[in-house]
């Protein structure tokens, strides 16, 4: 499996596949694990990881049979967990089809950007299987319980524009404008404090597993921790002095 990782910038990009079978994505899982370890060891986290494939399919082809889904199960479940455990914001770039496991992997990222003409959805139920574990919870929390059941029970595949309208993807663009759209997104993330990005992500995901009251406590604790960071002082100072903010990621 061809995987190219670009860490030249504070926005890391991972270009992978597309693979023919989910089992081939073991390599991607290993590479993401390495990046995750590297982030844990660094004093300064990257602002985001962008996950993208060459061509018109995201990560892996649409599944053709239950047997195919069974064969990819172990690799699939691992990749879902690895993506969910990344502490920095993740962005999936969908330049064509993200169907079946590919859509599950996209849902496990924080943000999704899709080109006009892209199609997304989980078709596993029509093949007699559930989507890989985690998908149902993710889709419920992203699209709402009612829409989640409709999409999964009917194995619906929807166009980018519909996905955008329903909040399944956060940005759409023309196929020829992907780099520009990614550039805009990257720019808005570059303006943010790296620690704040990680904590914002943690406050949202962590809180979504908790009763509201506990979620509010988690959020307030992370906020209090941020108050001790150099970045937070710099954020306020630069705002007062009306100059660009220079975050050090600490």
């Amino acid at each position: 499996m061809q995987i190219r990782v670009d860490q030249a910038d504070e926005i890391w990009s991972v270009l992978c596949g597309p693979a023919e079978a989910v089992s081939e994505l073991v390599d991607l899982n290993d590479r993401l694990q390495e990046l995750s370890n590297e982030i844990a060891a660094r004093s300064r986290a990257p602002r985001a990881i962008i996950l993208r494939s060459a061509g018109r399919r995201f990560l892996v082809s649409a599944p053709g049979s239950a047997a195919e889904l069974d064969a990819g199960y172990n690799a699939g479940i691992q990749l879902m967990e690895t993506l969910g455990a990344l502490t920095v914001p993740t962005v999936a770039v969908l330049e064509g089809a993200a169907i079946g496991p590919a859509w599950s992997f996209a849902l496990a990222c924080d943000l999704r950007i899709a080109v006009a003409g892209a199609r997304v959805g989980s078709t596993e139920v029509s093949l007699g299987r559930l989507p890989y574990p985690g998908t149902i919870q993710l889709l419920t929390r992203i699209a709402g319980a009612g829409r989640c059941m409709e999409l999964l029970l009917l194995s619906k595949v929807v166009a980018a524009a519909t996905a955008r309208r329903e909040g399944l993807v956060q940005r759409t663009c023309q196929a020829t404008a992907v780099d520009a759209a990614l550039g805009d997104l990257a720019e808005s993330l570059r303006l943010a404090g790296p620690v704040a990005l990680c904590y914002g992500k943690e406050a949202v995901w962590g809180g979504s597993d908790l009763p509201l009251r506990d979620g509010a406590r988690l959020e307030a604790s992370l906020y209090a921790l941020l108050q001790t960071t150099a970045d937070r002082s710099e954020g306020i100072r630069s705002f007062a002095e009306r100059r660009p903010t220079v975050f050090v990621g600490q």
């Binding site: 924080d110 956060q170 943010a192 949202v204 809180g207 509201l212 509010a216 906020y223 108050q227 975050f247």
Partner: protein, 270 residues
């Protein structure tokens, strides 16, 4: 920046207005620092705390409305006060000692946010703590916190995913992108969008219609929503049943019984 003399009057105005229905009133809370687009400061927190305590203790209030005076609903926290708390430890202690966000979330009657102009940062978070949001077409929403090295901390990381979905919440919080009234309505955050000139009237109509149909059921609905957050479906059903069974009593008995249930629920957190 507004000076102390310019703010001799209250920065949170509160008015209790009786409606045509016997014993039912609408509470109007107005954020009132129009010179600084109603930027939220310590004084506003303290006055809001007082007002919300009065609302919590007042059984006549059938509907509460939160709105902003001047050109904006609220442009967010007053950054001139940031870093003035003695330490993060004390700041966190005060956050829970004067928990106005929890107080807003736990008002027993329906709460409407009436939005216009800038609804930024804690302004948007405040609106998300209300039950219904109605907005003028000139409304602009944004959570700029990460650009200052911070995160939304008025429960916005909790309320936004619950109301607008995880994808929208992460997008607004991580990229600090702007959300127009139309986009917010499409995402399910707003009950209605109206021309700016009609916001006052539309808000009043909404408040009056809720007040006219005010009943224990509205309070029960809010109580169930609050008490079942994060519960399993089976546990939530038990709570719903328990609260449902308070129906059909004499009116004041029903309210008193519900208050007791809520007090017991809240006691487990303190």
């Amino acid at each position: 920046m507004a000076t102390a003399t310019a703010e001799a009057s209250q920065v949170v105005c509160y008015e209790k207005e009786w409606t045509g229905s016997q014993g039912r009133a609408i509470g109007w809370i107005t954020l009132n620092r129009p010179g600084v687009l109603n930027a939220y400061n310590v004084r506003m927190r303290d006055e809001l705390h007082e007002v919300l305590r009065a609302v919590h203790d007042d059984p006549d209030i059938a509907v509460l409305v939160l709105r902003g005076a001047g050109r904006a609903f609220c442009a967010g926290a007053d950054l001139s006060e940031f870093g003035t708390a003695p330490s993060p430890v004390i700041a966190r202690k005060v956050r829970f000692a004067r928990d106005v966000w929890h107080m807003l979330d736990t008002v027993r009657c329906p709460v409407i946010a009436s939005l216009h102009g800038y609804v930024i940062g804690s302004g948007l978070e405040m609106a998300m703590l209300c039950d219904l949001r109605i907005a003028a077409d000139d409304t602009t929403m944004r959570l700029p916190d990460v650009r200052l090295g911070m995160i939304p901390a008025a429960m916005g990381c909790q309320t936004l995913p619950r109301t607008g979905g995880l994808g929208l919440a992460l997008d607004l919080i991580l990229t600090a992108r702007e959300l127009s009234a139309r986009d917010a309505q499409a995402a399910g955050l707003l009950a209605d969008v109206v021309p700016r000139a009609q916001l006052g009237q539309a808000t009043r109509r909404l408040a009056e219609s809720l007040a006219a149909t005010s009943s224990l059921a509205q309070w029960q609905l809010k109580a169930v929503r609050r008490m079942t957050d994060g519960l399993s479906a089976a546990e939530a059903r038990r709570v719903e049943r328990h609260v449902w069974e308070l129906s059909g009593r004499k009116e004041d008995e029903g309210y008193a019984a519900l208050s007791e249930v809520l007090a017991r629920f809240d006691a487990q957190w303190s």
